[in-house]
């Protein structure tokens, strides 16, 4: 602890979100500082580099109005912290944790640094409890389990928010929802989407907390928003024993903010200009999902990633896929066919599915039916290409069956609209379709 409060008026340069400050006596890396502009506007910033007496600050929020002579910098001697209390439930905050629902700020029980600490790998409980999302294509073929991080890879123009909404409305936890809460983190959201989600939350009975950074709000705040959300999620899950579903939309906006800071710092750009440390940075968010041995709660994460140019090898989906336990990939082709949810089964994957299904969890034939559906659909997709060249006369009887299956599977199994389906119903439907085209 420092005894005195340090104030400086020694800013030497300002560029983008970055501020250089000189002749600083005592400072820590990661320390929060306050900037006070000549017209008494306050903004938060963080120390990101120290070189001798020169300090580099990253400002969260707009740097408009800062000047070199009069702006005052106050060092707080502490890292960025989040105020925590169960009173966050039912509230809506902006990206800097200020209430925007018209109610006053709550009284925090405690303050915790938002960077979090890594879960000791040996303290992790292996996720194995099935979460029923109500969508056949997820429950049947890419099952979600408690403590998993499963992103939704979308493309611009695809109904990712409707898919998220469907999951939010229909998700059921095993053995009924004990204390289920949704923590929603909007990163660079348009007003249209914001209104959609707010309406949804009001409609839903589930308790929720929202952190909202709108598209026209400061870019730098986007680096904080998900961290506030996850810090709150950790508190509710691991201290209050709740099952928390964290939804972050859209991670591509988060990564773009990261790139902006990196460029301003004149760091060496990696692929497509994103910084080389983006993998570690994303991991510091995603890896906070999970379960802990001997603790009741859980954090399940559903981040939404919009793939620029529908490209799954773009750094944002690519690095995300390397960290998360699978992905749900939406397809433009299926969407154009009017199929909802437009989930493309082939590139989608749930790595933790094997532990979450089977006897006692869903049903003992789950693995079999899902393998049959998958392999026939994969074959069918190959055959479609072949059929386009040689025509259906050139195909064998078996191949024609598989093609018939592929169409029915898309039209009836994947396509379900907003109607909820239980997992048993899903498995039955799977068998039914296989039987109808006499593949079993």
């Amino acid at each position: 602890m420092r005894l005195a409060e340090y104030r400086y008026r020694t800013i030497t340069s300002i560029g983008g979100p970055l501020v250089f400050l000189e002749r600083v006596q005592s400072v820590r890396i990661g320390e929060m500082v306050k900037l006070i502009t000549p017209d008494d506007k306050e903004m938060d910033a963080q120390v990101i580099e120290i070189k001798g007496e020169t300090v580099l600050l990253e400002v969260f929020g707009s740097t408009q109005g800062l000047d070199l002579e009069k702006t005052e910098v106050i060092f707080t001697d502490s890292a960025k912290k989040a105020p925590l209390s169960e009173a966050v439930i039912g509230r809506v905050f902006n990206g800097s944790f200020k209430p925007i629902d018209g109610l006053p700020m709550f009284l925090p029980e405690k303050w915790v640094p938002i960077t979090g600490r890594p879960i000791n790998p040996v303290a992790r409980e292996r996720p194995s409890e099935f979460i029923e999302t109500g969508f056949s294509v997820i429950d049947g073929l890419n099952t979600l389990v408690k403590g998993q991080k499963l992103p939704i890879f979308s493309c611009s123009g695809l109904p990712s928010k409707e898919v998220v909404a469907g999951i939010l409305k229909n998700a059921r936890l095993p053995g009924g929802a004990g204390r289920f809460v949704v923590v929603f983190s909007a990163v660079g959201l348009t007003f249209y989407e914001y209104a959609f989600y707010m309406e949804l939350f009001n409609e839903m009975m589930t308790s929720f907390t929202a952190f909202v950074n709108m598209a026209d709000e400061p870019t730098m705040e986007r680096l904080l928003t998900p961290r506030f959300a996850i810090t709150v999620a950790e508190y509710l899950a691991f201290e209050k024993g709740m099952d928390v579903l964290v939804i972050i939309t859209d991670m591509t906006n988060y990564c773009d903010a990261l790139r902006e800071v990196s460029t301003a710092r004149e760091e060496l750009p990696g692929r497509r200009g994103y910084p080389a440390y983006m993998y570690s940075d994303l991991a510091s968010l995603y890896e906070r999902a999970g379960r802990i041995k001997g603790v009741e709660g859980s954090i399940t994460m559903l981040p939404v990633v919009t793939m620029p140019e529908d490209d799954i090898t773009h750094p944002v989906p690519d690095l995300t896929g390397y960290i998360t336990e699978g992905q749900i990939v939406l397809s433009r082709e299926l969407h154009q066919k009017g199929i909802f949810p437009p989930v493309d089964v082939l590139p989608s994957l749930s790595r933790l599915m094997q532990r979450g299904i089977g006897e006692g969890l869903t049903r003992e034939d789950h693995r079999r039916v899902s393998n049959l559906l998958y392999s026939n659909y994969a074959k069918g997709r190959d055959l479609r290409r072949l059929e386009a060249i040689v025509g259906s006369e050139g195909l064998s009887e078996q191949d024609r069956k598989i093609l018939a299956f592929t169409d029915t599977f898309e039209k009836e199994f994947v396509n379900q609209g907003i109607q909820r389906r239980g997992v048993i119903e899903t498995l039955e439907l799977g068998w039914d379709i296989l039987r109808r085209v006499s593949l079993v």
Binding site: P121, A276, S280, T313, L352
Partner: protein, 537 residues
């Protein structure tokens, strides 16, 4: 001697006023005494890489040298343990600070309180040379040899129980020999000479053992985009490989996967011994959200442990998942030191570091004349699945076996998704001969025929895409059917069933049956029997 912090950026710290530092010396940084390593010296300034989270570290805080480099503790008690990249025992950390890792608690890698039974192999008056075994300790199913770090005449030797802090023998020079030694992680452990790898290491994966065999002491790389099953393949090999000791490094990967691995290894039986799998395994875990610079150190910690058991004459397998995360850590460190970047931002010494690491594998004659091996199977995660990137390319230049994971196979749920036309094993010739001698003389012949069929099918498939399968001749349709069986019954292996491990005998049996089916059916077609009728039969 104390210096002070003059600058901080990420995990890199600039230190001033600390004289007499040596390159790669371990230092204690700041009031919190974080562990760091000196990576550059410039006059009285030193650049230090800190292995822990630096948030909260302040300017002008003290930095102290320790006089020794970053080391690993080697001794009984390593097997079955789970360490982080700096060899801190994770179970211990959990017991002391709960489920989250924080701060910098100094925890000894090995338990000094535990008592071990020492069985001497030498007696007083014997001459001891460096690397000789003075005795052993029973560590689970293994004889953990205590190897002397110095030469001399033994003037006293212990028998019976001891703990790691106590000496086991004294030399004439007055020097004590302990059951525990510290070894700098970046220096390979010495051996007499390297031998040429010629004995296969059975992985139990048919496509590897049959097509792309890995020898004891060899290196294999498994590059693949996400979702191609790198981790599952590595874990399956870790479970079944025909070796004594397995060192598994989770380098910058997922925490939940490590939890899964740990739980499985604690319950599954070692297929080669009457023990649990974990009793032959050492896990080094630095998940993606743990400090980046410790990730860089983790593979060195692991390989040093591997070499230590190799020196006792064991066959050791090191699995690292994934080398790319290690290389990225190297890149992060390099860029925070403001070094000139090479290709894709990686430092220009990336390739030489990769070579230096891969070359620590090998089958060797140890200092005491025994033979031990260290085999490496390393996964690579190329961004965007693009194999032209520097880490994959540098790996290909040194590794003897290339197992290319194919996204399109993975999308068809063909696992292990090893592409059989692009992958290779440089050791194939020698090992094929070995299999022929050890398993069956048919091995080589079946191997060549199987390859031939796969190749012909690829050409046929192109034709089938134009004329349709129905338009093919019966012989060709039969060939496609046979290859389909090779793919689904032979090359595919489900890691979640009994079939996860296939012995060389079983491997041979399956392929023999398929080839026989093909031969018989070909014969029938030649006699004029229709393809449809053969299939019905």
């Amino acid at each position: 001697m104390t210096g002070c912090i003059r600058g901080i950026s990420g995990s890199t710290v600039w230190v001033e006023g600390l004289k007499g530092l040596r390159l790669f010396e371990r230092v204690r940084v700041g009031n919190a005494e974080l562990t760091g390593e000196v990576v550059r010296l410039e006059g009285e300034r030193a650049v230090v890489q800190v292995y822990e989270e630096t948030t909260g570290l302040g300017i002008n805080e003290p930095v102290k040298g320790t006089g020794s480099p970053l080391t690993v503790m080697l001794g009984p008690g390593i097997l079955g343990a789970v360490f982080d990249g700096l060899q801190r025992p994770l179970e211990q950390l959990r017991a002391e600070m709960g489920p989250f890792i924080s701060g910098t608690k100094e925890v000894s890698a090995l338990d000094y309180k535990r008592s071990w039974e020492f069985h001497p192999l030498k007696s007083e008056g014997d001459e001891l040379r460096e690397g000789d075994a003075i005795g052993y300790v029973e560590e689970g199913a293994f004889r953990h040899l205590i190897l002397a770090g110095a030469s001399g005449i033994i003037s006293w030797i212990r028998e019976g129980s001891f703990s790691l802090g106590e000496p086991l023998a004294r030399l004439g020079s007055g020097e004590d020999v302990y059951g525990l030694q510290e070894w700098p992680v970046r220096s390979p452990r010495p051996y007499r000479r390297k031998l040429s790898p010629s004995v296969p290491m059975i992985t139990g994966q048919r496509v590897i053992d049959f097509f792309f065999p890995i020898p004891r002491g060899g290196t294999a790389v498994i590059p693949g985009g996400f979702g191609t099953g790198k981790t599952i393949l590595e874990q399956t090999i870790a479970k079944f490989a025909d070796v004594d000791i397995v060192v598994y490094v989770g380098c910058g990967e997922r925490g939940n996967e490590m939890a899964e691995l740990l739980e499985e290894f604690q319950t599954i039986k070692d297929p080669w011994r009457e023990r649990r799998l974990i009793d032959r395994t050492v896990l080094v875990v630095n998940t993606s959200n743990m400090p980046v610079s410790a990730r860089e150190a983790s593979i060195y910690t692991a390989v040093t442990i591997g070499e230590y058991y190799r020196d006792m004459g064991y066959n050791v397998l090191l699995l690292a998942d994934s080398v790319s995360r290690w290389a990225e850590a190297l890149r992060e460190i390099s860029s925070s030191m403001e070094e000139m970047p090479g290709e894709e931002g990686y430092p220009t010494y990336l390739a030489s570091r990769i070579f230096g690491f891969y070359e620590r594998a090998g089958i060797v004659e140890t200092l005491n004349g025994d033979v031990g091996s260290l085999t490496m199977i390393l996964s690579v995660s190329p961004p965007g699945g693009d194999f032209t990137e520097p880490v994959t390319q540098a790996s290909l230049r040194t590794a003897g076996v290339f197992l290319m994971l194919d996204t399109s196979l993975a999308h068809r749920r063909h696992f292990p998704a090893i592409n059989w036309s692009q992958s290779y094993s440089l050791y194939q010739k020698e090992l094929k001969k070995n299999f022929s001698e050890k398993v069956s003389s048919e091995w080589e012949d079946l191997h060549d025929r199987c390859r031939g069929l796969l190749q012909s099918e690829e050409e046929l498939r192109e034709i089938a895409e134009i004329v349709g399968k129905e338009g093919l001749r019966d012989e060709d349709r039969l060939l496609m059917e046979a290859v389909e069986r090779i793919r689904t019954e032979f090359l595919c292996q489900n890691a979640y069933t009994e079939d996860a491990f296939s012995s060389p005998e079983k491997t041979l049996k399956i392929i023999k049956e398929i080839i026989r089916f093909f031969d018989d059916a070909s014969e029938q077609i030649r006699k004029g029997i229709l393809y449809e009728d053969i299939l019905k039969a």
